[in-house]
């Protein structure tokens, strides 16, 4: 993004932030999540700066991008929720034997990771609030959640292949 593009998107940020935040707040029901949606929308707009500014209606483009971002937030949280639901408390405490070495939970998802997941899924906290709670940047928190999701999906897939349930 060149300097002119950056200046124009910066102006749109200042002009549109409040209106977009109100829309996101009404759809997501939470101040933190609303801010997350607007910030993520402008991150996308910065990535696609040239495309935004060359569109017929740049502000309309950003409004549509916000709608997409809100749905993405909802979908990602719903997926994390499903993973959390299927991951039982006892899985974190089970002593793994050599037979279960591929499913060694402690090597895949730590207690801290599970607490982070609960903050997002149960307490419905924003990425920013969660990042602050764990003393990391927003981007680091996003990457950590992505890794948690991938690891949990791996464990669940392994469990399915082993007959549906963890072995007792």
């Amino acid at each position: 993004m060149d300097k002119n593009e950056r200046i124009l998107i910066d102006k749109m940020y200042r002009d549109m932030f409040k209106r977009l935040w109100i829309y996101a707040k009404r759809q997501l029901g939470d101040d933190g999540l609303a801010e997350e949606a607007v910030q993520e929308t402008f991150r996308i707009a910065c990535e696609k700066g040239r495309q935004v500014l060359s569109s017929e209606n740049p502000k309309g483009w950003i409004m549509k991008a916000l709608k997409y971002t809100i749905l993405t937030i909802k979908r990602d949280r719903a997926q994390l929720h499903m993973l959390y639901i299927h991951f039982e408390v006892e899985d974190r405490e089970t002593e793994m034997t050599e037979e279960h070495v591929d499913l060694m939970y402690s090597d895949l998802v730590s207690e801290q990771d599970f607490e982070m997941l609960k903050m997002i899924v149960l307490k419905n906290r924003s990425i920013k609030d969660t990042a602050q709670q764990f003393g990391m940047s927003v981007n680091a928190c996003k990457k950590r959640l992505q890794r948690i999701k991938e690891r949990l999906q791996y464990v669940l897939e392994e469990r399915k292949e082993n007959g549906g349930e963890r072995c007792d």
Partner: protein, 278 residues
């Protein structure tokens, strides 16, 4: 698609404007109002100030955006002086931006890519993958009937743990498929309590999930591309979804948002739902 003139919108109350925004968001993309009208409505809501107390400061948010999202640590970032919102000035500023944008475009040799990010297309696809309870269901409360009094002995532990979390028995099934019994529970206490109960037959688990005080918080649930089925029982509207070959049901009773996951038979799911109110 209902169209509003700016004069009509100017004369509406804030509540009417908010309702228009919320109803529009529930429509399919093709039926939604154009973005300019939506932004105009949001601008009216903004200048009426009902969100001023909780809305983040724009300049603070901007600096955080540069630092956290773009990872630009520019020490020269300074807050612009905050000007009192003046819609007339804002329109003038918007017009100036439009002029500048046009000049930049005319001077540039950039052409739009034939393929690339299209938020419109993405919105249509994502809508099929998530479900949230309609806002209208929020305040329904069905008084406790005999539900809960006939809980099978093997499910008494379920009842006991839900009471611990402050949930009454009129949301608890009294039937589960043969061989299922209480396995474990997990959750958080507090004003935004949530609780998950697992029942299992040793090979497969069914999960009950309850959330309290969910007003204003739209929880979303993963689903496949099948339309949700509405099932009425006990005076409550239940929404049956499918995901990954399993059935789940979502409903709200008063302040409690409820979900049952992991049932692999439609007939068994109906029996489970009906048993809540029998």
């Amino acid at each position: 698609m209902i169209k509003y003139s700016f004069d009509e919108l100017d004369n509406m109350t804030t509540e009417e404007l908010e309702r228009i925004v919320d109803e529009d968001a529930q429509k399919s993309v093709k039926e939604q109002m154009d973005e300019d009208t939506l932004l105009y409505i949001l601008g009216l809501i903004e200048i009426r100030g009902s969100y001023d107390e909780t809305m983040p400061d724009v300049e603070d948010a901007r600096i955080e955006f540069l630092k956290e999202y773009l990872e630009i640590d520019d020490e020269k970032q300074e807050k612009e002086p905050v000007h009192k919102k003046n819609w007339g000035v804002s329109i003038l500023k918007t017009a100036c931006i439009a002029v500048v944008t046009t000049v930049v475009l005319l001077a540039a040799t950039v052409t739009a890519a034939a393929a690339g990010y299209d938020p419109y297309k993405e919105i249509v696809e994502w809508t099929e993958e998530v479900f949230s309870l309609p806002k209208g269901d929020r305040y329904v409360k069905v008084p406790a009937s005999s539900a809960g009094e006939h809980v099978a002995p093997s499910l008494e532990s379920v009842q006991k743990h839900l009471y611990t979390y402050g949930i009454s028995g009129d949301v608890v099934p009294s039937y589960f498929p043969e061989g299922y019994s209480f396995r474990d529970y997990d959750g958080i206490m507090g004003w935004n309590m949530s609780c998950r109960i697992t029942v299992s037959n040793g090979k497969h688990s069914i999960y009950l999930q309850y959330y309290l005080n969910t007003y204003g918080v739209d929880r979303t649930y993963a689903k496949d591309d099948r339309e949700p089925e509405i099932y009425e029982a006990g005076g409550i509207t239940h929404y049956i979804l499918t995901y990954n070959g399993e059935y789940k049901v979502i409903w709200r009773n008063g302040q409690t948002e409820c979900a049952i996951y992991g049932v692999d038979s439609y007939e068994e799911l109906i029996k489970i739902i009906n048993s809540i109110y029998e």
